[in-house]
Symmetry: C2
Subunit: 265 residues, 2 copies
C-alpha cells in the first residue's frame, strides 16, 4: 500500500508528493516485476494525489525493468484537477534510477447516471469455453518463469494455448486474482498486461516481449467474478508490435481496453 | 517552429528546457486550435530535446482548450535517453495556464534494416473511392466552423459523409496538407486527430467532441502523397467514447494508429 512520505496529498497540492511503496517479487515475469503490477502500484499513489477513485486513462512508459523484493518511491504531481477528470503524473524510482513514467486521468466511474447521453455502443464479449475447460497459463511453455502465477489465475482458451498453432496472433481467456478478491479498476489495469503475448499462438515461444508503452482505458467498475479478456496483434513491423486488448466483467460488460507498443527481441 | 529559450537542449540535458512557440488560428476547429496541431507543435520542441527524429508513441492529455493567434511555451524534460527510444515529456502553456500534458517516445524510423526479426503483420489499407469521387470535409454540416480546412485537404468516402446515414460509427477518407507538402511523422500525429468524429455517420451532427486523451503510434515514415485513414467507434458509454484510427501512406503501408478517449457532450 502506498504511503505518502512528503508533501500534502490533497486535491489542491501543486507540488510533488513522494510515496514509499513496496515492490514484491511475487508478481515477477522471469526476473522482473510485471509491468501492469508496477503500473497499478504507481496508480495507488497517483490516485491519492488525484482525490478521485478510478483511472479512466493510464499511459505508462517503461524506462527500465523494475526490481522485486525491494522498495521504491513514486513521485506524483497533480497536473489538472477537474470535476469530471483529474490528470496526474507519476514517476516510479528504485535505487537511483527511474523505472516508470506514468500519466493518468482519474474520475468516478460510480457516477453512471451523470450523463444525459442515451446512446451507447458496446463490444460484445469474446466467446470462451468455461474456465474449467481452459488451460492454465502455468502449463504454457513460454521460455520464462512465471512467479506471477502464484497471484493470478489465468485460464486460456485451448485454441490459442498451443505454441504456433494458429495463423494469427490472438489469445483469449479468463483472469482473476488467485486469492479470490474481486478486481477493482486498478486491478483491471494490471489484468491488461498479464496474459501471454498474443504472438504466442502465431510464433510459439517468444520469451519476454518488453513493453515500451502501455495505455489502458477503464470503462466501467467490474462486477465480482471472472474477467474475460482477448488480446491480439495485427501490426508487427521491424521488431515492434502493437497489441490490443479488451476486458469484460462477469456480466459481459466491457470494462477496459488496452493497447501496448512492445519489442519482439 | 519551436525555438529554445532557456536551458540546453542536448540529449544529455536533465533539466527542463523551455521553447517559445507560435500558435496559429488557421488550424482552429470552431474557436480553438485542433488538438492534433497543438500536439504536433509540442512535439517539435520535444523532438529537439529527444535528439531523435520520429515520435514512436505519443500520448496527450488535453487539460484546457488552446488559443489561436497567440504564443505559447513548451516545457520539455528528457526522462530517459536510449539508443532505440528516448522518452520525453512536454507541457504546453499559454498565458498562465497549462493546456497540454504530453509524453512521447522518440526513435529513428529510417533504421528499417536494424531488426533481425523477419516476421511482420500488416493491417490492409481501407478501400476507398478515388479522392475526386469523395466529399470534402468542408461540405459537411457538422455544427462547427472549420478554419483548419484552409490547411488540410480531407476527402471523405461518400458512404460515411451523410449525417446519421449508417448503423455504425465510422469515417474513412483521404488526407494531405493543403499546400501540397508531404507529411512527415509529426504530420501523421496531426492527421490522427483531424477527421470529423466517427460518430457523425451514426448520430449526425455531434458538434465538438472534446478529446480527453489521444495516443498515436507512428509505425513508418510515410511516402509522399495522399494518406488514407479510417476512424471508428465501437465503445460509447455514459457520454465517453473510444475512437480508433488507422493511417496508410500512398503505397498502402500502415504508417500510424491512433486511439482517443473523448466526451460526447
Amino acid at each position: 500500500m502506498a504511503r505518502p512520505t512528503s508533501g500534502a496529498a490533497s486535491a489542491q497540492a501543486q507540488a510533488n508528493t513522494s510515496f514509499d511503496v513496496e515492490i514484491s517479487d511475487k508478481w515477477n515475469i522471469g526476473e522482473n516485476p510485471n509491468g501492469g503490477y508496477l503500473t497499478a502500484t504507481s496508480l495507488q499513489a497517483m490516485r491519492h494525489t488525484a482525490g478521485q477513485p478510478d483511472p479512466l486513462s493510464v499511459t505508462t512508459h517503461f524506462l527500465r525493468p523494475g526490481s522485486g523484493a525491494t522498495g521504491g518511491v513514486v513521485e506524483t504531481q497533480l497536473i489538472r484537477p477537474g470535476r469530471r477528470s483529474t490528470t496526474v503524473t507519476g514517476q516510479l524510482h528504485q535505487g537511483d534510477k527511474q523505472r516508470l513514467q506514468v500519466v493518468a486521468a482519474f474520475g468516478d466511474l460510480s457516477a453512471e447516471s451523470s450523463s444525459e447521453i442515451n446512446h451507447s455502443l458496446d463490444l460484445p464479449p469474446v466467446d470462451l469455453p468455461p474456465p474449467d475447460d481452459c488451460v492454465s497459463r502455468v502449463g504454457l511453455e513460454q521460455g520464462v518463469d512465471l512467479p506471477i502465477m502464484s497471484r493470478l489465475d489465468i485460464r486460456l482458451d485451448p485454441k490459442w494455448a498451443a505454441a504456433g498453432a494458429s495463423d494469427h496472433a490472438e489469445v483469449s481467456g479468463w483472469i482473476r486474482f488467485a486469492d479470490g478478491r474481486p478486481a477493482d479498476t486498478l486491478g483491471l489495469v494490471l489484468f491488461g498486461d498479464a496474459f501471454p503475448p498474443s504472438l504466442f499462438s502465431l510464433l510459439g515461444r517468444v520469451g519476454w516481449v518488453p513493453t515500451l508503452e502501455l495505455t489502458v482505458h477503464v470503462r466501467r467498475r467490474p462486477e465480482p467474478g471472472w474477467i474475460r479478456a482477448r488480446f491480439s496483434t495485427t501490426d508487427l513491423h521491424n521488431g515492434m508490435l502493437i497489441e490490443n486488448g479488451e476486458l469484460w466483467d462477469s456480466t459481459g460488460k466491457l470494462v477496459a481496453q488496452s493497447r501496448q507498443l512492445a519489442l519482439l527481441l
